[in-house]
């Protein structure tokens, strides 16, 4: 039952991804991207990666909130609305793109299984990566603050 649900979700994932890219109005694109993130979260959860699903949900909620705001503020309004024919073609294209993932396979079945708990893998095997990534994210946050501060300073001058 679960593999069938994952197949349906993967079709939805690709359809929403295609809609997010090719819909004219930015707000509708962001709504379709929300669908993409939602399908990804459920696929992670059904695959047994619960921590990954929670992280994906948290990250996507933040991204979508900012995208809705900036889409409304910065997006150029389209001249005409998308026709139902175009939307139908996009949905059909998304379904067609998802067929290879359902019916073809390139992965070998004989994979090596490694038993590690999540905490053990994160802190003992990838501990240095976690520390360095914390430094990278701190640097990025400071960089973004500098870019936006310079912009504000430029407007005042």
């Amino acid at each position: 039952m679960v593999p069938f649900i994952i197949e349906v979700l993967s079709v939805g994932l690709l359809v929403s991804a295609v809609l997010a890219l090719f819909l004219d109005e930015v707000v509708y694109s962001v709504a379709a991207l929300a669908g993409t993130f939602l399908f990804t979260t459920v696929i992670y959860a059904l695959s047994g990666s619960i921590f990954a699903a929670v992280f994906q949900f948290a990250v996507s909620v933040g991204t979508l909130a900012i995208l809705f705001l900036s889409g409304e503020m910065l997006g150029d309004k389209p001249v005409k609305k998308a026709s139902s024919t175009k939307i139908g073609a996009l949905i059909g294209g998304g379904i067609a793109l998802s067929l290879p993932a359902i019916f073809l396979s390139v992965s070998s079945g004989a994979g090596v299984t490694v038993e590690n708990s999540f905490g053990d893998a994160l802190w003992n095997l990838r501990g240095m990566d976690v520390l360095f990534q914390a430094i990278v994210i701190l640097a990025v946050a400071i960089g973004i603050a500098i870019v936006l501060y310079e912009k504000r300073k430029g407007v005042k001058a």
């Binding site: 690709l14 047994g48 999540f118 990278v136």
Partner: protein, 105 residues
């Protein structure tokens, strides 16, 4: 169901969008799709090595979030400076500005 092919198709859709869209927000959405395609691969790894796969996945999320933050900051700055989010119009405005500065010189 093969996650590798799904990730490949998502990557192809994202790259196509990145090359063809002229709206800055659509470019950002394309980058998000490419990042989603990359992280989807770790789901397959998580099926065989659950802890390690999820650890890699979370490290990939951190990188993805950092990239998103930088792109959004640049998007806001460029859109406010040039008054549009269309890449073609921004390029034209930049070209006009350069020509004006050459004429002044």
């Amino acid at each position: 169901m093969d996650f590798v092919i799904l990730a490949l198709v998502m990557l192809a859709v994202g790259i196509y969008g990145l090359l063809t869209n002229r709206q800055l927000l659509k470019v950002f959405i394309s980058v998000e799709l490419i990042a989603t395609a990359a992280t989807l691969n770790f789901v397959m790894l998580a099926q065989n090595a659950l802890g390690l796969g999820q650890a890699f996945l979370i490290l990939a999320f951190a990188t993805d979030t950092a990239v998103s933050g930088v792109i959004l900051a640049l998007l806001v700055v460029v859109s406010k400076k040039y008054g549009t989010s269309d890449i073609g119009k921004i390029m034209q405005l930049m070209q006009n500005k350069e020509e004006e500065s050459e004429v002044d010189a």
